[in-house]
């Protein structure tokens, strides 16, 4: 394999100071510049997603994660950059001859996922000790689970002081040393491998609400066989969005996905009754947030704003690659940058004042809003009017840098937990 360093990629490579880096495809500076322009191409986005998906699936103990740089380079983080099987598998995926960089990682995907799950499992204990989590997400680049805290109150300080596991002397806690103290608490309870970030300040935002584009009326009049992306209403008076159409692996019955927090109820579109919640996966040990709705018939499509897309598969998007959000109120929004592909968000504010935690979330720096829950997140493929499923919308939050992010549970976890499969290729299941 030819390994050539490219000047245009110096910024990327600088991130890897002290680490092993190589580019998997021969290229030149001018070619890299061209690639920069093509960094948003559907082919490249799909390749990056294929790398992430294959890495997690086949090499979870070596592969750590993938990221797509603004220069159009797919970075593969691996605990063993010389893993011939992994590198060969990645090369086979790379039919578009995209540039690939390999960077040595501290922990594998499996290890980072386990660390993230271990933290979520001790959330109640941490709360008791005065630590309020906001989000945690594996970071293959740093080799740690990044932990973001909520800003502490005086009550949190008091609980943390009395926990007996903090490193600053009791009584001397301040907002300045709080993160360090929390690091000590987390290490004592969950072990090492966490990078605790200071609580977000309440700081200027670009907007106070997502700047949602319009969504035309087509998705508002869904009829059987139902597509994903339909606006749906429950007899519990909650409004959500239909996710992907799925089929029971044993029963072969058709179901529609939506968010678990939308509640167990009877669903309809404005045009037609749909069916009842079959199974609810919410506030469970796996920290899911989805449900299956038993429908009379479903089609393997999702509604976009002006077109329906055939669902042709499922994928895990790479960090910093682009996806599409398609909630029924916000509508179809393309080219939204992926922030994380395996995050946990704590204390999500739900209907009825309920707070819950959701895991295995893809988070992306784009808008969603009330009524988008359950809506599809997907990656467009190079073929026209085809997409691959990523997940279903769960929640949104303001970013510290301004703007909003939207989070959705990964489709793979939903299908596995519910023992269902995606209905593909616009097929109708009755």
């Amino acid at each position: 394999m030819v390994r050539t360093r490219v000047a245009a990629l110096a910024g990327v490579l600088a991130l890897a100071a002290g680490l092993t880096v190589g580019l998997g495809a021969a290229t030149t500076a001018s070619a890299a510049a061209t690639l920069t322009n093509a960094a948003t191409s559907a082919g490249l986005q799909n390749f990056a997603a294929n790398v992430e998906t294959l890495g997690e699936t086949r090499f979870p103990d070596t592969f750590a994660g993938a990221a797509l740089t603004s220069a159009g380079v797919v970075i593969v983080y691996s605990t063993n950059t010389s893993d011939a099987a992994l590198n060969s598998a990645m090369a086979k995926l790379n039919t578009g001859n995209y540039p690939v960089g390999y960077i040595a990682a501290r922990f594998s995907y499996s290890k980072l996922d386990a660390l993230n799950s271990a933290l979520a499992a001790v959330q109640a204990k941490l709360h008791k000790d005065g630590v309020e989590l906001f989000m945690s997400e594996p970071d293959a680049a740093t080799g740690a689970v990044d932990v973001t805290l909520l800003r502490p109150t005086s009550a949190d300080f008091a609980r943390l002081n009395s926990s007996g596991v903090i490193s600053p002397a009791p009584g001397r806690l301040t907002t300045a040393n709080y993160s360090r103290a929390v690091s000590a608490v987390i290490s004592s309870i969950a072990g090492s491998g966490y990078a605790v970030e200071p609580a977000w300040q309440a700081q200027p935002a670009t907007t106070t609400t997502p700047n949602s584009p319009d969504s035309p009326a087509g998705r508002y009049n869904g009829t059987a066989p139902f597509n994903g992306g339909d606006y749906i209403k429950g007899t519990n008076r909650l409004n959500c969005t239909g996710g992907f159409s799925v089929e029971g692996n044993k029963s072969h019955n058709p179901f529609m996905l939506t968010a678990g927090h939308c509640g167990r109820t009877t669903w309809s579109t404005p045009a037609q009754a749909m069916g009842r919640t079959s199974s609810l996966y919410w506030r469970n040990p796996a920290r899911d947030d989805f449900q299956t709705i038993r429908v009379g018939s479903a089609r393997g499509n999702v509604n976009g704003n002006t077109d329906a897309y055939a669902v042709v598969g499922q994928v895990v998007p790479a960090r910093d690659s682009l996806l599409t959000l398609d909630g029924s109120v916000t509508g179809e929004v393309h080219d939204i940058k992926v922030l994380s592909n395996n995050a946990t968000i704590y204390n999500i504010k739900g209907p009825g004042g309920v707070k819950f935690t959701a895991s295995h979330l893809v988070t992306a720096a784009g808008p969603c809003t009330g009524g988008d829950s359950g809506g599809p997140m997907y990656v467009r493929v190079p073929a026209p009017l085809q997409v691959r499923a990523v997940g279903t919308i769960v929640a949104y939050y303001g970013l510290p840098s301004g703007g909003f992010a939207c989070a959705g549970e990964r489709i793979g976890y939903e299908l596995s937990a519910s023992n269902t499969s995606l209905i593909l290729d616009a097929r109708v299941v009755r």
């Binding site: 309440a202 609400t209 968010a259 504010k349 809003t369 009524g371």
Partner: protein, 129 residues
């Protein structure tokens, strides 16, 4: 006169308080909204939107004409300094058949001012920005 208004359970609050907000719909159309809200800080240069570290489920709620919504839990962020603020809420009008009206004509933003005072509950930590 605005036919939709926002009411708060308390108009003077402390950082970290849990209050509620309610939408009173005196208009002719049902309204769709989320459990979310925005907060703006009153400054010498006008209202400054704040970005609060809080995640909201993307569920949609609605309130019929002539009715009030159920009270919605509202967390006053822990980092707010004393001063004047306002809660903001984005709503979307629903058509007679329950379909969201396009944002360009159907979006309604409502606001309600409140004051953040000081909390003297610890004395151990003075939490200033």
């Amino acid at each position: 006169m605005n036919s939709v208004r926002l009411e708060l359970s308390k108009n003077v609050v402390a950082p970290g308080d849990e209050i509620t907000h309610t939408i009173v719909n005196d208009g002719a159309a049902a309204l769709l909204f989320g459990v979310d809200y925005g907060i703006e800080e009153g400054t010498a240069d006008g209202w400054r939107p704040l970005n609060i570290a809080m995640a909201f489920a993307a569920v949609g709620l609605s309130v019929s004409p002539g009715q009030s919504s159920s009270p919605i839990g509202t967390h006053i962020p822990r980092g707010l300094r004393p001063g004047k603020y306002r809660l903001t809420k984005s709503l979307r009008a629903l058509s007679s058949d329950g379909v969201p009206v396009p944002k360009a004509v159907g979006e309604i933003i409502i606001r309600r001012e409140f004051v953040v005072g000081t909390r003297e509950d610890s004395g151990q930590v003075t939490d200033r920005r």
